[in-house]
């Protein structure tokens, strides 16, 4: 059998990633594919780095191809393996570590490098560029510790970096050489609106500002401008442009101009060597946006499959991905002497629209504040449509051409089938509609079939409108389950945004995340309250009115409106004096029923609301604290008698259970949490169906988690083995904190674990000591504030005593 041809790819960015997808579709069997990538990770969506920087997304959200994708397609990916040499005569490449690999065909996709201006101080620690995930991670860690940042360059990347750093709480100044922001994409009026919007989020903008030097001796301390102004900064980001990465191609003797020369088939000057992406130059043009790279990817895949295809250059449009800022530009937006323009402004709403016309055809578009018609204008521009007939109204957009009061989807409805909806991926309206008619009924499925909205995401709204147009009521936007009827956002998004935007009260969340109800509902308010308690343990004041009644009065409501009260009995151990105190309470308040619970403690049922403070007071005096039998928090730690008594006991399971309960009680969690500690594998405390369980063995302690024995029944998963009480406490509290930070409200540990994967949790807690210790530390910090007996606080401070009052009304002499 003829062995497969070897296809080697250098670089694993967005362009080759897309090319390989096409190749897998049209010619999956032809090549044995090997990729070498300098970055130590799989292919991710570089465009989405800005939302990661601002905290709106995380790395996992932006992965394009996970490890399993490569395995599935039998593609070998060498991460962290830069190629340092290409031998074109003998057809092999060499990595930095000396590994060689033979190829039949080679694809170069090395992307580009950020330009660093060689001013004095440019090589100081703290000066960085913005290109890959490592850069984002560095910026995030600096933002945690330092407060001042300067971004040099007010273009697309610079502004996204500035917005991200500012969202992370830094004071950011943008220093820009030209007299207005984004001068390559925007005219001055739009740039001024943009400048205002950036200033409104606290970002300082200096235009016509030329950097003379970067200050500092062993690290950055600031920058000095040519006019003498100095700006303090612990972080300087240079975002002044990019340069195709061509060194490798050059040293291999390929023809290189500004980028690597390619023909219409993406072939370089060397037979069998192809190139695509930001590293190439095609007919004198180098590109720095993904849309053209995706066009190249299609052509190269066809070329490699030996089909004919031609790349003939691309028309570009720009959008800025700073949330809350809508701008769009395309074509020749500055215009020349003989061009015409149409402008509308709506100052109140911050809207600016400008069309540049030549012979009644649109040649340039700038939209600020309302970009809903961008696809329509861009379509007229690309097709060079004669607009004489609609010239007087064209500026108002597609919807206005028909019924001026049309509904919001009418702009999309009015687009011709060939109109491009997704600029990044070049997907037109008819392609999306075909997918929808073929059964795609969610944003996700349209994305996976057509790629529309899968890159920078700014056309998501348009795609959703197409879904609504075709499917009407049937279309439920966002398969992702919204938290409740008041928002489109899911739990994970809300948690991330609370953190990213430093939202510290429920009202702030409702405002900033555009809740559609004035004060939330019974579903979202308790969830938000928990997320805030968890995120800002020291700053957030628990909102009692957003808690379910049980957590508001620290007792469980019963069907007749009375309450049950369960004091803690640490590890299920009690004493004569405790039992006597309970008996006294039962007598004094005439408690109708006393019951031993399934959680190894005693429940007093049928207590009237107005009696609660008195009951708690008596229990408190006897030394009891609340058992939180009502809480989305730590409930019970069940134990067995263990080594102290039992003939099979291997460790003191009772003492360990008591210690865990004393350390963990009082913490709030997404849903209730129950633990158990058994003294030997006979497991009398039923530890293997708990949220967290410990089984003592001769050699130490087996840790278990993610069991269930309520609505679902499920045995636990093994977390790992540890040797001492101290370690049990550390590992268990770290696991609990990880769950506290990631769990969705009302999601028990086993459901959370299924969602984020058992293996990932094991890895973070068992293998990654730094992560574990950080979680454990955050848990103990939060406990400093959370661990107090709510009964004591309520009775001592007479706090919100009105909650319990029931006074009779009194007659007054007012007549109706």
């Amino acid at each position: 059998m003829k062995s497969k041809e070897q296809l080697v790819v250098i670089g694993n960015g967005m362009a080759p990633g897309r090319m390989l997808e096409h190749l897998q579709e049209i010619e999956p069997a032809r090549y044995k594919i090997t990729i070498f990538n300098a970055e130590p990770r799989v292919n991710y969506n570089r465009l989405m780095l800005s939302p990661v920087l601002s905290g709106e997304k995380c790395y996992e959200d932006i992965i394009t191809h996970s490890d399993s994708w490569y395995a599935e397609h039998n593609i070998t990916l060498h991460k962290h393996s830069p190629i340092t040499n290409i031998n074109t005569s003998e057809k092999y490449v060499t990595t930095a570590s000396g590994i060689q690999k033979q190829y039949d065909k080679l694809v170069i996709a090395t992307g580009s490098k950020p330009i660093v201006i060689p001013i004095p101080g440019h090589d100081l620690p703290g000066v960085m560029v913005y290109r890959d995930l490592d850069d984002v991670e560095t910026m995030l860690s600096v933002a945690k510790k330092c407060s001042n940042a300067v971004v040099i360059g007010g273009g697309l990347l610079g502004l996204e970096a500035a917005a991200g750093l500012s969202a992370q709480g830094m004071n950011v100044t943008v220093v820009h050489l030209a007299d207005h922001l984004m001068e390559k994409q925007l005219d001055k009026p739009a740039a001024l609106l943009l400048e205002k919007a950036m200033q409104a989020r606290g970002i300082r903008i200096l235009t016509s500002a030329n950097t003379a030097q970067i200050d500092g001796t062993d690290k950055v301390t600031g920058i000095t401008l040519k006019d003498g102004t100095t700006l303090p900064a612990e972080l300087v980001v240079m975002a002044v442009g990019i340069k195709p990465s061509t060194e490798l191609a050059e040293s291999a003797g390929l023809s290189v101009n500004r980028g690597i020369d390619v023909d219409n088939q993406m072939r370089t000057s060397e037979r069998s060597v192809y190139a695509l992406g930001e590293c190439v130059e095609h007919h004198g043009n180098c590109y720095g946006l993904v849309a053209p790279l995706y066009d190249m990817a299609k052509v190269l895949a066809q070329t490699l499959a030996e089909n004919s295809a031609e790349y003939s250059g691309s028309v570009l449009s720009t959008k800025l991905k700073v949330s809350g800022v809508d701008l769009f530009s395309a074509g020749d937006f500055l215009g020349s002497g003989d061009s015409d323009e149409i402008v509308v402004r709506d100052a109140a709403n911050g809207v600016y629209r400008r069309l540049v016309l030549q012979d009644n055809r649109i040649v340039g578009v700038v939209l600020y504040g309302d970009t809903s018609d961008s696809a329509w204008f861009f379509d007229l521009l690309k097709k060079q449509t004669d607009i004489s007939d609609i010239r007087s109204t064209v500026i108002f957009g597609a919807a206005y051409q028909g019924d001026p009061n049309a509904d919001p989807t009418s702009a999309v409805a009015a687009l011709p089938d060939s109109a491009e909806i997704c600029g990044c991926n070049g997907v037109c309206k008819s392609t999306i509609n075909t997918a929808i008619n073929g059964g795609a009924n969610s944003l996700e499925s349209v994305r996976s079939i057509t790629k529309a909205s899968a890159s920078c995401g700014s056309c998501t709204g348009l795609v959703e409108q197409l879904l609504t147009l075709s499917l009407g009521e049937q279309y439920q936007p966002a398969e992702l389950l919204p938290m409740c009827g008041c928002t489109e956002l899911g739990h994970a998004d809300v948690r991330r945004l609370i953190k990213a935007k430093s939202l510290k009260t429920i009202d702030e969340v409702l405002q900033a995340l555009e809740w559609s109800s004035s004060c939330g509902c019974a579903k979202c308010r308790p969830a938000l309250n928990y997320y805030l308690v968890c995120e800002w343990p020291a700053d957030y004041a628990d909102d009692y009115q957003s808690r379910f009644i049980n957590e508001r009065v620290h007792a469980n409501i019963q069907q007749d409106g009375t309450f049950s009260v369960v004091p803690r009995m640490w590890g299920g151990v009690t004493s004569a004096s405790e039992l006597r105190a309970i008996a006294d309470v039962v007598d004094k308040f005439n408690v109708p029923m006393v019951k031993v619970t399934g959680g190894q403690r005693i429940d007093m049922l049928g207590i009237k609301k107005e009696q609660l403070p008195e009951v708690w007071k008596d229990l408190g005096t006897a030394g009891f604290v609340s058992g939180h039998a009502y809480a989305k928090g730590l409930r019970t730690v069940k134990t067995c008698v263990g080594k102290q008594w039992c003939r099979f006991g291997t460790q003191d399971s009772t003492a360990l259970g008591v210690r865990l309960e004393k350390y963990l009680w009082g913490s709030w969690t997404p849903a209730k949490v129950k633990l158990a500690v058994s003294g030997c594998p006979r497991n009398c405390a039923e530890a293997t169906c708990k949220d967290i369980g410990v089984i003592c063995v001769e050699s130490g302690f087996d840790l278990h988690f993610a069991g269930a024995a309520g609505l679902d029944i499920k045995g636990t998963e093994v977390l790992g083995h540890v040797d001492t009480f101290d370690e049990v406490e550390e590992y268990v509290s770290a696991l609990l904190q990880m769950y506290r930070e990631q769990g969705h409200y009302l999601e028990r540990i086993y459901k959370w674990a299924n969602r984020v994967s058992i293996d990932e949790i094991k890895k973070q807690i068992m293998e990654n000591a730094d992560t574990r210790l950080a979680y454990a530390r955050r848990f103990s910090e939060s406990q400093l504030i959370a661990q107090h007996d709510p009964w004591a606080s309520r009775t001592d401070n007479n706090m919100q005593a009105n909650e319990f009052s029931l006074k009779p009304v009194a007659a007054v002499e007012v007549v109706a």
Partner: protein, 115 residues
């Protein structure tokens, strides 16, 4: 029942009611929940859910309704009616606030006398 059998009763101070919360008062056997919304509007309903009698005063208040703590029915504070698919209504009382004093218009003789 004639209107003249109703009188204005002084119930509590508006400041005593937590915003988005409630306070309970009694009138003989009758329990009344007085609610304050996020916009400081005040409403009074019998503290008894039309479903199975749950104490509405213990519910979460949002917009102009309260969610019963027992089985999550939403009850309108303005009309006392169950919202959505659920059917039923709870008694509501006229409210007047002057100088921070909340007054309720209720039947003069408690329907059942105090035990």
């Amino acid at each position: 029942m004639s209107e003249s059998s109703h009188y204005w009763y002084r119930a509590c101070f508006a400041a005593e009611i937590p915003r988005r919360g409630s306070i309970r008062v009694s009138h003989g056997r009758l329990k009344i929940a007085i609610f304050k919304t996020a916009k400081d509007e005040i409403f009074a309903l019998e503290d008894k859910c039309p479903h199975k009698g749950g104490p509405l005063s213990a519910g979460i208040v949002h917009n102009n309704c309260v969610t019963c703590p027992l089985h999550n029915w939403d009850i309108s504070l303005e009309s006392g009616k169950a919202l959505g698919a659920d059917k039923g209504a709870t008694a509501r009382f006229k409210v007047q606030v002057s100088d921070d004093v909340v007054m309720l218009y209720v039947k003069k003789t408690p329907s059942l006398s105090v035990v």
